[in-house]
């Protein structure tokens, strides 16, 4: 399953860092964070609960980039 989120991220490099971190999270098959369109696309693993996974995603993203927000 793929979902697209509107995000607020401050710079291109921050987006790259968030992407690398988010890809490591359990339940995330692939992730794509794009600064230019301010969008994050996440492909979830089969059977993963998106809401639960997204909590971890936000936590991990905030850790590397305190200003990161999911709108």
């Amino acid at each position: 399953m793929k979902k697209s989120y509107n995000i607020d991220v401050d710079c291109a490099n921050c987006a790259n860092l968030v992407e690398t971190e988010v890809k490591k999270i359990a339940g995330v098959k692939d992730a794509n964070v794009v600064f230019m369109t301010q969008k994050m696309k996440i492909e979830f693993e089969e059977g993963a609960d998106p809401d639960a996974v997204m909590k971890d995603v936000l936590k991990a993203a905030k850790k590397v980039e305190p200003d990161f927000e999911i709108l």
């Binding site: 291109a12 490099n13 230019m36 369109t37 305190p66």
Partner: protein, 643 residues
């Protein structure tokens, strides 16, 4: 301006005013607590107002074991400047505050400029319809989410609104503006029965449209998805910068450390020399400020994004920054003939009499076309349709009877009581008629009437009006070689190629043969040269995906083409190929300018800083200045010439 930016602006203004007051104050020690290290507390307060978030991020970075980033650079540089001022007891804390202040001004400008251009590029590509109108049973219009409209329902599009979903006009006439999709500025007239694509804007009349697709499958959704995804394919230049920044920042930090430690240590060993720790530490800090890599990190993705935006404005969809980069290296353009350089529609190009000579006799011409058109009036073959178009009159069906369609040969019929045969050479042979073999390139339709051969009509595929101009434009854009591939007969191919000025032609190719030819041409080219294949995407998907770069034409409505190609031209105009190459070259030129300019200025300042010629003020101006120049240069990629 976003909330974040407004807060930042207020902080900058407050800090700037306070800094100015502190700098102009005649005697800071007169203030309460002002005597502590010549007003350190006051300066520290201003420093925290402007720089607390940088410090926070730097500490967070250290905690997350991601030490070396620009926040860390700034923290070390400014804290170091405070330290030096304390050590020297000079009370000159202004420098540290100024560095932080200018750094924040630079960051603010960057976020503002990038945000603004990001939004204007996005709005160029914003074709997303927000709602669809559905007529309720009481006759009122109800706005619904386009996602909820089922295939086959009727939606109403008022003048000025976007067509939200692909469909067929059920009622109403209007003209549609498709420029957001195709870059084509001429409006398209539609009437009941015509197909309309989502994303076009209804200009004049109310249209009722029966949807043929779901919103998610409609052209507009497909294009939006494609454009949004395009930003995520990173180019090699972007990858280079990411990797570069990873090595660069630590390298700079260690270089600064070496600059602070080594020269004084060396001086210590030489008798009679002072180590001059403070001088060298100051130089090391200056070095750190100069080395901040922000200009590169921000301007490269921005340039690519702007380039993709510019291309989409002229109706060319580029699927990613990496594709834009490949496009700029295209040296060979291979074009399919039918549908790409020609219209793919047959037209009468000549009419010959029984001796294979051009007929000048208008009467005779009309007679031949009339016979052919009447005989073919019941057929749906493309050639029949072309003949009927050439006839230019309503067909009087009562004149025709006994129509027999002979598969692979042609048609026989009785027209005005006379036996008429219309078809190819084989038909003439089977009827035992004496005919002449025509040498012209194209499809030949022979006509016989009342047992006598009357002449033949030559049908040709018309060359697109812009085709020859496009080939010339490709050569102007720096393409070394243009090649035309076709499944058609050699004679047709050579004639078209000569008319267009194509360098090489390969004719009579089967689809597999086209792939082989493309592979051959790719093997022959140099390492940094790329080959692009241009096709209409209908049956050349294998070639599109095999070439270094696949360019599909007429993307509107053709999902297969959008899938298989790297670049999609939204309309059928081959001139767009050269324009797309031009835009890609310009974008890459800007990227290279920025890399060279940023690295060049930084390198010069680093050297000046190491020798103590540049102070911290110059350092921060260099950093912010280079970044502003790089961002402004990047935005240039967005501008396209109209027309």
């Amino acid at each position: 301006m976003t909330r974040k930016q407004r807060i930042m602006l207020i902080r900058i203004v407050v800090a700037a005013v306070l800094t100015a007051i502190l700098a102009l104050l005649p005697d800071i020690t007169a203030l309460p607590l002002g005597s502590v290290a010549k007003g350190l507390l006051y300066y520290l307060a201003v420093y925290l107002i402007i720089g607390w978030d940088i410090l926070r991020k730097a500490f967070k970075g250290i905690l997350n074991r991601r030490v070396f980033d620009e926040n860390f650079l700034m923290m070390v540089a400014t804290a170091g400047a405070f330290g030096l001022a304390l050590y020297e007891k000079s009370g000159d804390y202004l420098e540290a505050i100024a560095v932080m202040l200018f750094y924040q001004v630079g960051e603010f400008f960057q976020s503002y400029a990038v945000g603004k251009s990001r939004r204007s590029i996005s709005s160029l590509m914003d074709i997303r319809p927000d709602y669809a109108n559905i007529e309720t049973s009481s006759g009122n219009l109800q706005k619904v989410d386009p996602d909820e409209v089922e295939t086959g329902s009727v939606i109403v599009v008022l003048p000025g609104e976007k067509v939200p979903i692909d469909g067929i006009v059920a009622e109403g006439v209007s003209s549609l503006n498709t420029s957001a999709l195709t870059g084509e500025s001429l409006p398209r007239e539609v009437a009941p029965g015509d197909e309309v694509v989502s994303g076009s804007i209804n200009m004049t009349g109310v249209l009722k449209i029966r949807t043929t697709k779901e919103f998610g499958e409609s052209t507009v959704s497909k294009i939006l998805e494609l454009v949004e995804d395009s930003a995520s394919h990173k180019s090699r230049s972007e990858d280079f910068i990411t990797r570069f920044a990873r090595i660069y920042t630590p390298a700079v930090c260690f270089a600064a450390l070496a600059l602070a430690l080594l020269p004084p240590l060396v001086r210590l060993m030489i008798p009679g020399m002072e180590p001059m720790w403070n001088v060298w530490i100051y130089r090391a800090l200056t070095f750190l400020v100069i080395s901040c890599p922000c200009a590169l990190v921000i301007s490269i993705p921005l340039s690519f994004f702007a380039g993709i935006g510019a291309a989409s404005r002229v109706g060319v969809l580029v699927k990613g920054a990496n594709i834009l980069e490949t496009l700029s290296k295209v040296r060979t353009v291979v074009l399919d003939k039918t549908g790409t350089l020609t219209l793919g529609v047959f037209e009468v190009t000549a009419m010959h009499d029984i001796n294979d000579l051009d007929t000048t006799d208008e009467e005779q011409k009309r007679r031949i076309v009339e016979l052919a058109a009447l005989a073919e009036c019941a057929s749906t073959h493309p050639i029949s349709k072309s003949l009927l178009r050439a006839y230019e009159q309503e067909v009087d069906h009562s004149r025709v009877s006994d129509i027999k369609e002979l598969s692979g040969l042609g048609i026989t019929a009785r027209i005005d009581g006379l036996e008429v045969a219309v078809g190819n050479e084989k038909l003439m042979q089977s009827l035992g008629l004496d005919f002449c073999h025509c040498q012209s390139a194209g499809t030949i339709v022979h006509v016989a009437c009342d047992g006598r051969y009357a002449g033949h009509i030559v049908l040709g595929d018309l060359i697109k009006p812009n085709a020859a101009k496009s080939i010339a434009a490709l050569h102007d854009a720096g393409v070394d070689q243009t090649v035309m591939l076709t499944g058609d007969a050699e004679s047709v191919a050579l004639e078209v190629a000569a008319a267009l000025g194509v360098d090489k032609v390969y004719a009579e190719l089967l689809p597999a043969g086209k792939v082989e030819k493309v592979e051959e041409l790719m093997a022959a080219q140099g390492k940094n040269e790329k080959l692009a294949f241009v096709g209409d995407g209908i049956n050349d998907a294998p070639v599109l995906s095999r070439a270094d770069l696949g360019i599909a034409m007429g993307g509107v409505g053709s999902d297969a083409a959008i899938e298989a190609a790297d670049v999609v031209l939204m309309d059928d105009d081959p001139l767009k190929i050269a324009r797309a190459i031009g835009i890609s070259r310009k974008t890459l030129r800007i990227v290279h300018q920025n890399i060279v300019m940023a690295l060049g200025i930084k390198a010069a300042c680093l050297v000046l800083g190491a020798f103590g010629i540049a102070n911290m003020w110059l350092a921060i101006f260099a950093d912010v200045g280079v970044m502003i120049l790089a961002v402004l240069n990047a935005i240039r990629a967005m501008r396209v010439k109209k027309g």
